[in-house]
């Protein structure tokens, strides 16, 4: 019985965005990373192209995390005290990118000044050859100051800077424009808002191949389904040819899944949760796997074992690409 496999012919494809710049391109990275370019749904290579596999950005902080899960701190060891050493380790684990959250700039916390934060970013750039994604940790009001300083201090490195939100995108985008960076446009789990922000950012003059979309991440058990649907809708819209939804997508799987109770609580763990260390790990990899299947192009991760596992998942699904 002859079965004719239905094949979708899509009108559009995801835009390619290259992160990082080598010496000849005005930066200091030893290599660049290109994401996007897909002309089909995730990994469906029988009907379309996957020119670039999704990539892993290992998350580091610019200051030692104090409230992370003991599982995580145990696996990371002493490097969490030194962002540069941490980034180096991440490179060894097989990170494609470094995702750096500037938590120290939080006015309710350490309240580190933008200049000082930018210095830490520079120290990480010096330590590794990987391209960087830098996220503010100072809140919607103060992030622009921090990110603009980082943009200036790292001129030409083609970092991804974010999150740029509807209330603060202008300054951040201007910083990216002036200093040769890429913006990550953040919206709270809504296709239309994501599209709208992309339009606004483009209107300021940033070319669409310098925009990454962060549609907000819900971890497993904490809104994963909303996140899956918004990413799937964005991706379908991109493939159908809507150019303002064709930006590559980033999902902060590491940050969101390690914030959950399941990953953090180490005492009084219910028996039905099983081994606590294993559960935290699988919570992160299940979140990441599900988001990759929805259409994420960049996933952030925290645990070195998750990095190894998701790397093999991407290798298997991207085989031939």
């Amino acid at each position: 019985m002859a079965v004719e496999i239905p094949v979708e012919k899509w009108a559009g494809k995801v835009r390619e965005v290259t992160i990082g710049a080598t010496a000849s391109e005005g930066g200091t990275r030893s290599k660049t990373v290109t994401v996007g370019g897909e002309s089909t749904l995730p990994f469906l290579q029988f009907e379309g192209q996957l020119p670039h596999r999704p990539v892993i950005a290992v998350e580091i902080h610019d200051a030692e995390p104090t409230d992370w899960s003991p599982t995580l701190l145990g696996a990371l060891g002493d490097v969490v005290k030194d962002p540069a050493a941490w980034a180096k380790k991440a490179e060894e684990w097989g990170a494609d990118l470094i995702f750096m959250r500037l938590v120290s700039t939080n006015p309710d916390g350490e309240n580190r000044k933008p200049e000082a934060a930018a210095e830490v970013v520079k120290s990480v750039l010096k330590a590794v050859g990987l391209p960087l994604i830098v996220y503010g940790g100072a809140g919607i009001e103060h992030n622009p100051d921090v990110l603009v300083k980082v943009a200036q201090a790292t001129e030409g490195e083609r970092l991804v800077l974010g999150p740029a939100e509807d209330k603060n995108y202008r300054t951040i985008v201007a910083g990216c424009l002036a200093h040769g960076h890429i913006v990550s446009a953040f919206t709270p789990m809504d296709l239309n808002l994501a599209k709208q922000l992309n339009i606004l950012v483009s209107d300021v003059g940033l070319s669409p191949d310098r925009i990454i979309v962060d549609p907000n991440t819900g971890a497993l058990g904490y809104g994963l389904e909303y996140c899956v649907s918004v990413i799937e809708r964005l991706r379908l819209s991109a493939l159908q040819g809507d150019s303002m939804t064709q930006m590559p997508i980033i999902s902060l799987a590491g940050e969101e899944s390690w914030r959950t109770k399941e990953s953090k609580v180490s005492e009084g763990v219910p028996e039905a949760w099983g081994d606590f260390a294993e559960l935290g790990l699988i919570w992160e990899t299940t979140t990441a796997t599900t988001l990759l299947h929805s259409g994420a192009d960049i996933v952030t991760l925290r645990h070195p074992k998750s990095v190894a596992l998701i790397k093999s998942v991407i290798d298997k699904l991207g085989k031939g690409a």
Binding site: L220, W273, W283, T285
Partner: protein, 450 residues
Amino acid sequence: MALSGLEIYKNLPKTNCKECGFPTCLAFAMKLAAKGVELSACPYVSEAAKQALEAAAAPPIRLVTIGADSRKIEVGNEVVLFRHEKTFYHQPGIVVRVKDTEPADQIAKTAKEVGGYSVERVGLQLTLDGIAIENTSGDPAKFAAAVKAVKDTATVPLILMSQDPKAMEAALEVAKDGKPLIYAATSQNWQEMAGLAKKYSAPLAVYSKDGLDQLAELTKNIAGAGVADLMLDPGARGMLDSLQMMTQLRRLALKKNFRALGYPIITFPGEGVDSLEEEAATAAQHVAKYAGVIVLNSFNPAVAYPLLTERLNLFTDPQKPIQVEPKLYAIGEANEKSPLLVTTNFSLTYFSVAGEVENSRIPAWLLVTDAEGMSVLTAWAAGKFDAEKIAKAVKSSGVEQKVPHKKIIIPGYVATLSGELEEELPGWDILVGTREAVDIPAYLRSAWSA
């Protein structure tokens, strides 16, 4: 798949005799398509036309039931590729495999663990769905004994795994009342397996790794032999092959209405992987992308809990946001000095707020109002989260007895409500909290000094 009026019309007598109560056959067909009338209202449809219409009106992916008790697995009947298009209806069954070569007490132990597994989440009890017993020994007696060991310990749906019809019959004799899934019919044994499926009125899985042409040929033969409840194992293992194959099967059923492959799929994510974590990731893919039954190699709660949670998430109807019960929640060891926060009963809002309050390590009271499952901003805009409603919740929840301090923290997004709320709640201090849940820990640490 729903038929259009014109498609139905083609099968009608086209005599316009009006006996159905409609002026023309076409008018009747249109009403039928809109499900406003039964086909039986026309006395003149031929038997052949009736069958054609009924077959065409059947769901594109057959609904298959494994098991006979209240804990049965019902899968199939899906109508979309992506949950946002409508919803995913039937959660995939997640079962654990035992082998008949394991010692009887080991088999019984696994059966007990799987059958008794239950984990609480969002007020629901999530459970595993069944046990697959594999005839690894090749010995019918051993197989039957293993099935008995499982059946005596756990009352869950069973999957019997053997390609030997003799062994299958021996196992079915033990498990016959339970409508177990027979796994599997192949090109070699399908006639005997179809015979067993009929004799024991059990659903039958069909296996072929030689491509979809072969698989479709097999299911057609088996359906022709009178077995309607089938499942598919297209033999694809590993993440990429199974993703592509299972996507193709779902599309064939939904987009082409391809009957011969319109059945739910059984998967074995632990086959051909190197680690437990890789099995878990493959299973996670299968939950998201189109499995009907997922057979895990071993019982491990640290794998089961995330998979059951993923399944719960993805099979939630996107049109109906899950709501949490509107009431007063204690987060941690809240006492009369603990802060009181108020939010809405949209589940994501509740879990974000509750999670952040927990992160703050400051025990607190969380008053959840009935905002019809909307988030704070949406509910406020829709008039479902206003001063009157908050005040009502304060009064009906009995929180006044619990917190003599009479301070209530409202979400930053509805700061404008504080004036009105002061009027509604005389004697109360209205504090404006943060807009985003993520900022709650810092807020509580600095602002709470009761």
